[in-house]
């Protein structure tokens, strides 16, 4: 008996503020004009993607007390852009990253429900908690919560939002609402009827044990960075194993790593392009920045083409603000030193080696085969593709890889439903009246 191959899910990350977006390329367009968002979203919809995804940052990143100026800077506010995109797309899911630490449930639940209504069931919410105290300086709340408190707040936030989304009866009658918990006290009446897809899709991004537990209890999708086959499988097993204690089935939570890709006519050409791309992404200045991010000290006197510093990292450095650090600095530094010694690499070469994340590199056929293999092997349910060019970075993928995935029978050839939940194969949440 042959079983149908497992279907994969695809989403498109808008390449904006991150250190993989190549802005120096002559084809690089605006990261802020609506036309860029429209182009990428329409391309994703042409490729029948599940959703379009926007990241968030609530403070400009800083390095050594100065605004970081090497990567793309500046982005519009996500939910507002997605509402506009709802006017120029029909089926594509529209997912916004919105912080649970610097928002309030009533207001955000209302904004998300509005997007779901105005897009007729296509809204998604990536719940992040902020890894950085300095973000708070733009908000009344100010300051910071430790990780555990951020996640208990996020969990109560999502629970409260779900109660609000369920507060009108299915026939459209508002009912009084009350939630009194540790973090929130909300009382009154919600302003919108139940969403077209019941609740907007909830996505989680965050990797600690607290983050994974929160995802297992409350999320529909996880956005992860575990992009290699081995790390992906380990993560997959870990997270899916956490679902049962919340009474959930493994396929109620989709795991979607964020991954890059580089296409060429041949595998060799793609590899060459990928190497050139890494040199563009990790300029000498960016290499020094990455190094200082680990070392937590000013290393401006070092040569990016020279050897790694002898001095040890400063573990609790405030040097870098607004970026997730790469892990325990001493351990990372030890790994980088070993790598550099072993292969005789300069600072810049070491950074390139050490920070290259899983990217699917090859001809369209190779990339399609690998994507399908990852899903078949239980390393992911699908992918959030991170193009490295705005706004044309997805064009080739949609034109050349998607048809091959369809040929393999692992990706849809037409949208079968109209809501984001239906694309993801997720049931509508039961109304808890």
């Amino acid at each position: 008996m042959t079983t149908a191959p497992k279907q994969l899910h695809l989403a498109a990350h808008f390449p904006g503020v991150n250190n993989t977006t190549v802005w120096a390329d002559p084809r690089s367009g605006s990261q802020i004009d609506f036309s860029s968002f429209e182009h990428l979203a329409r391309t994703a919809e042409r490729g029948l993607f599940d959703f379009f995804f926007l990241a968030e940052g609530l403070r400009l990143r800083e390095h050594n007390g100065l605004i970081h100026d090497l990567d793309v800077v500046g982005r519009p506010e996500s939910l507002t852009v997605l509402n506009a995109l709802a006017a120029v797309t029909d089926r594509l899911g529209l997912a916004a990253t919105v912080n649970a630490t610097f928002n309030e449930p009533f207001e955000l639940a209302r904004r998300l429900a509005t997007l779901d209504h105005l897009s007729e069931g296509r809204a998604g919410w990536n719940v992040v908690t902020s890894s950085d105290a300095f973000t708070g300086e733009n908000f009344r709340r100010g300051g910071y919560l430790d990780r555990a408190a951020r996640y208990t707040r996020a969990a109560e936030f999502v629970a409260t939002a779900r109660e609000l989304w369920d507060s009108w009866t299915p026939d459209g009658t508002p009912r009084p609402f009350a939630h009194h918990g540790e973090h929130f006290s909300v009382e009154g009446e919600f302003t919108l009827p139940r969403c077209p897809q019941g609740h907007p899709v909830v996505i989680q991004a965050g990797d600690s044990a607290e983050g994974r537990e929160f995802a297992a209890s409350a999320a529909d999708v996880i956005f992860t960075r575990h992009g290699t086959l081995e790390a992906g499988r380990a993560f997959y097993v870990d997270v899916k194993g956490r679902l049962a204690k919340y009474g959930r089935e493994p396929d109620e939570l989709k795991i979607m790593p964020g991954v890059g890709f580089v296409l060429g006519d041949t595998d060799a050409e793609a590899r060459e392009k990928a190497a050139a791309l890494r040199l563009q992404q990790v300029s000498p200045q960016n290499a020094m920045l990455a190094l200082e991010q680990v070392w937590g000290r000013d290393l401006s006197s070092y040569d990016p083409d020279g050897p790694l510093p002898e001095a040890d990292p400063v573990p609790d450095s405030e040097l870098v603000q607004g970026r997730v650090r790469l892990g325990d600095p001493l351990a990372v530094a030890a790994r980088w030193r070993a790598l550099s010694r072993q292969k005789g690499l300069s600072i810049r070469q070491t950074v390139i080696e050490a920070t290259t994340r899983q990217s699917f590199v090859g001809s369209p056929g190779t990339v399609a085969a690998e994507l399908a293999e990852f899903v078949a092997a239980g390393a992911a349910d699908g992918f959030i593709l991170v193009p490295n060019l705005t706004p044309g970075g997805l064009d080739d993928f949609v034109d050349r890889v998607v048809p091959l995935l369809q040929e393999r029978g692992v990706f849809r050839s037409a949208y079968t439903g109209s809501t984001l939940r239906s694309h993801l194969g997720l049931a509508e949440p039961v109304w808890k009246g």
Binding site: W23, A24, I32, D33, F34, E38, G57, L58, R59, L60, L66, I67, D69, L70, D71, V72, V73, G74, R75, P76, E77, L79, T80, V81, N83, A84, A86, A87, V88, F102, N103, E104, F106, E107, R110, R111, A113, T114, L115, H117, L118, E137, N138, F139, R140, G142, P174, F184, S185, V186, E187, G188, E189, T191, L192, P193, S283, P284, Q285, N286
Partner: protein, 359 residues
């Protein structure tokens, strides 16, 4: 007699709550056909309905010229979020965004957030002024040419053209800079209903467009003069303000007025001045008030949006256009251009120049 200034017209497109985008898009397009300066969409947390700023973002790509002015309240929303969302509406509409600032005074609204108790209007309007102030600073916190994409040095932005606002209000602080680059209009248009104290004080200081609800051209003119005087006291040139008379209009079924105009009596409705009559008489009234120099224009709230807006556009506006009192098309692309308001210079860029001159 002072020269007649161009007439400005705006309309509210809210009504009983609707959740389908097509409803709002159709109304905004209708207003756009009439070459109106802008549409507003009222909002509050206290009654059913979708988020107004979201609705007008949804409308933006489906329209081309009309200004889009949602109500955004400042009492429970983070000032930083307000500024980002309004700036983004300006980006997605390519320079057509405004923002009607309002406050939430009730205990019912406060209980939806559970963060702070209800407060007196005067306090909340002072805070709304601070939110408008920090919003403008955040919009300026990126100089227009901050993005340099300098491949020689590897720098995407010139960090000397990004500015911390370090704003300290009575109830909040914001460090800045904005995450959204300076919007197309420099600063989206700020609209405030300045009929009553203490909103009038905030309007005179921070608004580009002030709405006034009064029953006679004389009363309206008095308030207009007052707002302009106060604006001047805050160091503004009064001609950088537009004062629009706010009327609720019921164009019923009649072609002409069963109750001619407003001049005859007190307002009939709790929310401002209520006009009931035909589209032709409304055109006469608008022409009369405007000729008298009482106002820069009108903000009309149709009692029944679908029906009355259609009559306003195809009746009243068409007639005003025929009489050459109102434009027949939008000569510019941005809301500021419709209103004849200049794109504001960036306060930080000015500092820059001054520093340069001194050096």
């Amino acid at each position: 007699m002072p020269p007649i200034r161009p007439l400005h017209l705006a309309a509210e497109i809210g009504g009983p709550p609707r959740y389908e985008p097509e409803h709002y898009t159709a109304l905004a397009r209708l207003a756009e056909q009439g070459a109106l300066d802008f549409v507003t969409l009222g909002d509050s947390f206290a009654r059913p309905g979708p988020d107004a700023l979201a609705v007008l973002s949804r409308v933006a790509p489906a329209t081309r010229r009309i200004g889009l002015v949602p109500t955004v309240t400042t009492t429970h929303t983070e000032p930083f979020h307000v500024s980002s969302a309004v700036a983004t509406l300006d980006w997605v509409s390519r320079g057509r965004a405004g923002w009607q600032a309002d406050v939430s005074t009730t205990g019912a609204e406060a209980r939806l957030f559970g963060r702070r108790p209800a407060a007196p209007a005067a306090e909340l309007w002072r805070e709304a002024g601070e939110v408008a102030d920090v919003g403008a600073r955040l919009w300026d916190s990126w100089e227009d040419d901050a993005e340099i994409r300098d491949t020689a040095t590897g720098r995407f932005v010139d960090r000397d053209k990004l500015h911390y606002v370090d704003f300290e209000g009575a109830t909040f602080r914001v460090r800045g800079p904005a995450i959204v680059p300076r919007p197309p209009q420099g600063r989206p248009v700020v609209v405030i209903d300045g009929t009553a104290e203490p909103a009038r004080q905030t309007a005179a200081r921070h608004a580009d467009v002030v709405l006034v609800r009064a029953t006679t051209p004389e009363r309206t003119a008095r308030i207009r003069d007052d707002v302009r005087r106060r604006a001047e006291a805050h160091g503004r040139h009064p001609d950088t303000l537009r004062v629009l008379a706010a009327l609720t209009v019921d164009l019923g079924d009649a072609e002409s007025a069963p109750e001619p105009g407003l001049a005859s009596g007190p307002p009939l409705a709790a929310h401002g001045t209520y006009y009931r009559g035909g589209p032709v008489d409304l055109a006469d009234l608008i022409g009369r008030w405007h000729r008298a120099g009482a106002v820069d224009g009108f903000h009309l709230t149709p009692i029944t949006p679908g029906r009355d807006l259609e009559r306003i556009v195809n009746g009243t506006v068409a007639l005003l256009q025929h009489r050459s009192l109102f434009r027949t098309f939008h000569p510019g692309g941005t809301l500021r251009e419709h209103l004849g308001l200049a794109r504001p210079a960036n306060r930080y860029a000015r500092d820059h120049v001054l520093r340069g001159e001194r050096a």
